[in-house]
Amino acid sequence: MKKIHIVLLVLIVAAIAILISFMPSGGGLTTYESIADAKSKQGKVVHIVAKLDKSKPVEYDQVNNPNYLSFTAVDSLGGTVKVVYNNAKPDNLEHSDRLVMKGKMVGDQFECNNIMMKCPSKYSDDPNRIQESMNKTAK
């Protein structure tokens, strides 16, 4: 067998592997969706970028079940959905500006299995925020 043949063979295997890795089943890639689009894709795993709706209650009772969190999310297009997350409540949930949530719609709730919080970092270029924290220092 010539070396070039082996190289070609391995390249083909690699190409197939890359294709498999991008296939949607199992560990494949997903897409970012708006809440409205996610609702029309029942049962399909998607990513939603949304905000916590602070006017609705956040339900988390550590004592009765530390693995049940539910809240309402609202996205930039105005879609809202009830989110259920079977894990501990991320402590900075209320302070996040954006939530990147991975999960799927089941019925009318979004069953989320991963939440990434995007928090306004304190040295974000918002002078008001910096001034506020400086005022705290003074106290």
Binding site: G27, L29, V46, Y60, V63, N65, N86, A88, P127
Partner: protein
């Protein structure tokens, strides 16, 4: 306005040193380049001298920059924005170092400092290679210096200076209206160092990782020197020890990052296939592949083209990784990238320059080099000026769609340029370096080493393809998100790579260069093979490895990979006697491969046998009756303070907490008792709570280490102080049947509520009701502690009358306030206690020590091999 009290001088000196470093490294690059190209010895020598002096000026400047930044942070000079952003008064002195390199600007300083040190060593050791090698290294220093310039050039910001004044960066901040702002009380503390970075690993991980990054440039410089001087094969000998050093340091640096993630962050493991992690792993993989092809070249004269390519690719991938982690392009996909400093174009250019450098040098005449340069620069400029969009405008097309497509095409130019550079390099290398016509024998060592290198390269290509998704999104305007199951999307492919590499690691050294006799091979490998088969059999049979989350197919591949890594461990250990007869000077490869195989085994076992100890079905473990819960079970477990709780294999008690004297950091004391062995130990996970205005909790785990496993706990949620009940009055709770409430040392479960019929009408009126609730009250850590309490609620003649019940010892009073047939409102009063609780996760990682030990042994193997290669190069 004249400001009072600012320390401006250090910043001015620092800024001057940045510019000095920039200018000095430009002069060094040019002088060394001329020296490398000059045939006249005396002339070349004098240019080299200028190069040296300029490089030493650069070294001193970079060192000065580092020292000044360190002292500004140590002196808390918050008038400098970098100091304000990344440090605070509460930092212990070891974390002042972490603060220096905690953000993008500072880590560039660290990188430049390592380059400077490596450059000094090269000046004294590289001899005839000094001029070409230092040309390339000085060019890299030019690029790094631009990252720290922080000046404006035709309206474009170049670099971000660590010495920028806060008031100049953010003049709109009201405090800067006051000329004496430095002395205002608001200005006496900084923003503080990111909580995650306040960890001893962050003191040592970044310098080691950056030395790993920085050192990959040395083999790259030698390869470029080979192209520049047209001595295509001579660079291999001096480059090899450097490549081994780099592989060693980079591996240790990456695994220190893993240890940091494992020990200090709440990622629940040492590796998560996060883009930032991948970006540092991939160059290591190509470097390992490159070291193997370099060895093939040294022994057989083959694979020189591949070596050039892999060594060049390694450094290019380091720059790609820098681009990914600092440009902010990863956005949503990574948990730990640097803050975006708005230097994307500049970071890309750094990558692009070094992408084209090998390609341009691989042209042999000046004319082709110029054409190459023109194409490279042209593509970027045309993309910058959005040529396709300009064409659309000129053609007068107004429609939306063609314009969008033109935008996308414009954005693909740099990508096309990058890919074009790589393809051109391959074509040129093929022309420059004659390949040996005769095929290598299938029984030769070089043949299988080459296959192994190819497989490693493929692993690197696949990881890069998967990690680069945010780049595709950016260029093509897509919205592809990470996988549903990120780790599995990598693991399911890399498991095959692990199997192939495992077998090759085991058998490779038993093959001879050129050709191996079948009998020789069988005889030598026979015993190691048999012993491995038995050992693997025992591990698989008794190891109880049944990770079937992804089906039996995937599990069987894990089994095969475990067997292969056991084979690799034993075969490399045996080779010390069978192959090199205990000659330790030659033992580098065996030791490194042994360590690598041990890492592989550690990775396979620890990840497939990771156990969640805090897995539970109820919030609080309730032994009586079925507790109705909402939702699924999970990995979090709630511990009320002071109550001994049942957590699977352990009795666990949250026994107390203490606070850090200076920081808002709290330590929690969790006592564990193993139910079987009765062994007890205490874990003290801690958390930063609302640190420096960063609202919320940042948890640091604590682990108990055993030789064969670790128990690892971290806080996931704390009680909301506003919800902790005031215990001197009645606290009301709404409960359903089966719900539980905890109080200090007690659990209260609402068992039933019965309503009585046939009530006397003269007392209760027409619609009178009498509810009788039964509560079970017990201490889960204490046997026979069950007590009952039966408060009542009567509704008589439209009025509710509650009849509270007090426990016999008076420690608890319960009252039923309301009941609607579904939910009950219950009042709880506990005369003398405060309640607190926390929620945590507890994991068990088995055989994680194999991974750490394997890393150290592999690093040792690299060092032994490096020492030997230095000796070989000298003779």
């Amino acid at each position: 306005m004249d400001y009072i009290g600012e320390a401006l001088l250090p910043g001015q000196i620092g800024h001057f040193l940045v510019i000095l470093s920039f200018v000095a490294s430009i002069i060094a690059t040019i002088s060394y380049f001329i020296s490398a190209r000059t045939a006249n010895l005396a002339e070349a020598e004098s240019w080299k001298k200028i190069g040296r002096i300029s490089f030493f000026i650069d070294v001193v400047s970079v060192l000065g920059i580092f020292i000044i930044l360190y002292s500004l942070i140590a002196d808390h000079r918050y008038e400098y924005q970098y100091v304000y952003k990344n440090s605070g008064n509460d930092l212990e002195s070891k974390y002042i170092l972490s603060a220096v390199w905690s953000a993008s600007e500072g880590s560039f300083i660290l990188w430049a400092l390592w380059h400077a040190l490596l450059g000094v060593i090269l000046i004294f050791t590289a001899k005839k290679w000094e001029a070409p090698v230092m040309t390339v290294l000085s060019l890299a220093q030019v690029c790094l210096a631009t990252m720290m310039l922080g000046i404006y050039f035709f309206g474009n910001k170049i670099g971000a200076s660590p010495f920028a004044l806060f008031r100049e960066q953010m003049p709109e901040l009201p405090i800067f209206q006051d000329p004496g702002y430095v002395n205002r009380p608001e200005f006496q503390d900084g923003n503080g160092l990111n909580m995650l970075l306040q960890n001893y690993w962050m003191v040592i991980h970044p310098p080691v990782l950056f030395l790993g990054f920085a050192s990959t440039i040395v083999p790259f410089c030698f390869a470029m020197g080979g192209l520049l001087t047209k001595k295509y094969g001579d660079w291999v000998k001096p480059a090899l020890p450097w490549a081994l050093l780099s592989a060693c340091v980079l591996a240790v640096g990456i695994m220190m990052g893993g240890a940091w993630a494992y020990e200090s962050l709440s990622f629940g493991g040492y590796w998560a296939w996060d883009p930032v992690e991948n970006a540092s792993l991939v160059p290591w993989l190509t470097l390992i592949a490159g070291i193997h092809t370099l060895l093939i070249y040294k022994h057989t004269g083959r694979s020189l083209q591949t070596s050039f390519f892999l060594i060049a690719l390694t450094f290019i991938l380091i720059l790609y990784s820098t681009f990914l982690t600092r440009s902010g392009i990863l956005g949503e996909t990574s948990v730990h990238s640097f803050a975006d400093l708005g230097m994307n174009a500049q970071l890309f250019l750094f990558l692009y320059v070094f992408l084209w450098l090998p390609t341009i040098l691989s042209f042999t005449n000046g004319k082709s080099r110029l054409i190459g340069l023109a194409i490279a620069a042209g593509l970027v400029l045309l993309s910058y000026y959005r040529l396709p969009v300009v064409i659309i405008d000129v053609l007068g097309i107004k429609a939306e769609r063609p314009r969008e497509i033109a935008e996308i095409i414009g954005r693909t130019f740099p990508l096309v340029g990058s890919m074009g550079a790589i393809i051109l390099l391959l074509v040129n290398l093929n022309k420059l370096i004659p390949s040996i016509k005769k095929e290598e024998a299938a029984s030769s060592r070089e043949f299988w080493m080459f296959i192994g290198s190819l497989v490693i390269l493929i692993s690197a290509v696949i990881i890069t393809a998967q990690t680069s998704v945010p780049v595709y999104n950016k260029i093509f305007g897509l919205s592809i998100a990470p996988s549903e199951d990120v780790e599995f999307s990598y693991n399911r492919i890399q498991i095959f790579i692990a199997i192939i590499i495992g077998v090759l690691t085991a058998t490779g050294q038993y093959l001879k260069y050129k050709e191996t006799g079948k009998q020789y091979f069988m005889k030598k490998i026979g015993w190691p093979f048999l012993i491995s088969a038995v050992a693997a059999g025992i591990i698989l049979y008794f190891g109880n490895i049944n990770y079937d989350k992804y089906g039996i197919g995937y599990l069987s591949f894990i089994w095969i990979a475990i067997a292969c890594s056991v084979f690799a461990i034993i075969a490399n250990l045996a080779y010390l006697w069978i192959g090199i007869k205990g000659n330790l000077r030659l033992s580098g490869p065996s030791v490194a491969h042994f360590g690598f195989a041990m890492m592989l085994l550690g990775i396979l076992i620890s990840s497939s046998k990771k156990e969640v100890l805090s897995y539970n079905t109820n919030g609080i473990f309730v032994p009586i009756e079925e507790n109705k819960i909402t939702g699924k079970t999970g990995e979090n477990y709630t511990l009320p303070k002071g109550i001994k709780m049942d957590m699977g294999k352990y009795w666990v008690t949250y026994s107390g907490d203490s606070s850090h004297p200076k920081k808002s950091q709290k330590y929690f004391k969790i006592d564990f008792i193993d139910k079987e062995t009765k062994e007890d130990f205490t874990l003290k996970p801690n958390a930063f709570i609302n640190y420096k205005g960063n609202e919320g909790l940042s948890a640091n785990p604590d682990a108990r280490h055993y030789w064969n496993y670790d128990v690892f706990a971290y806080i996931t949620a704390l009680a909301d102080p506003s919800k902790l009940q005031d215990t001197t009055s009645f606290a009301t709770r709404t409960l359903k049947i089966g719900d539980s409430v905890y109080l200090s040392k007690k659990l209260i479960v609402l068992d039933t509520i019965q309503s009585r019929d046939s009530l006397p009408e003269e007392l209760f009126g027409k619609d009178g009701k009498l509810y009788e609730a039964r509560f079970s009250i017990f201490d889960p850590g204490q046997e026979n502690s069950l007590q009952f309490s039966m408060p009542k609620l009567a509704i008589a003649k439209g009025e509710s009358i509650s009849i509270p019940d007090t426990l016999s010892n008076g420690s608890l009073i319960l009252v039923l306030n309301k009941y609607d047939g579904r939910q009950a409102e219950v009042g709880v009063k506990e005369p003398n206690a405060i309640q607190d609780f926390l929620t945590l996760k507890v994991y068990k990682f088995p055989f994680i020590n194999l991974l750490w030990l394997g890393t150290l042994i592999m690093a040792l193997g690299f060092i032994i091999a490096m020492v030997r290669r230095i000796q070989v190069a000298k003779n």
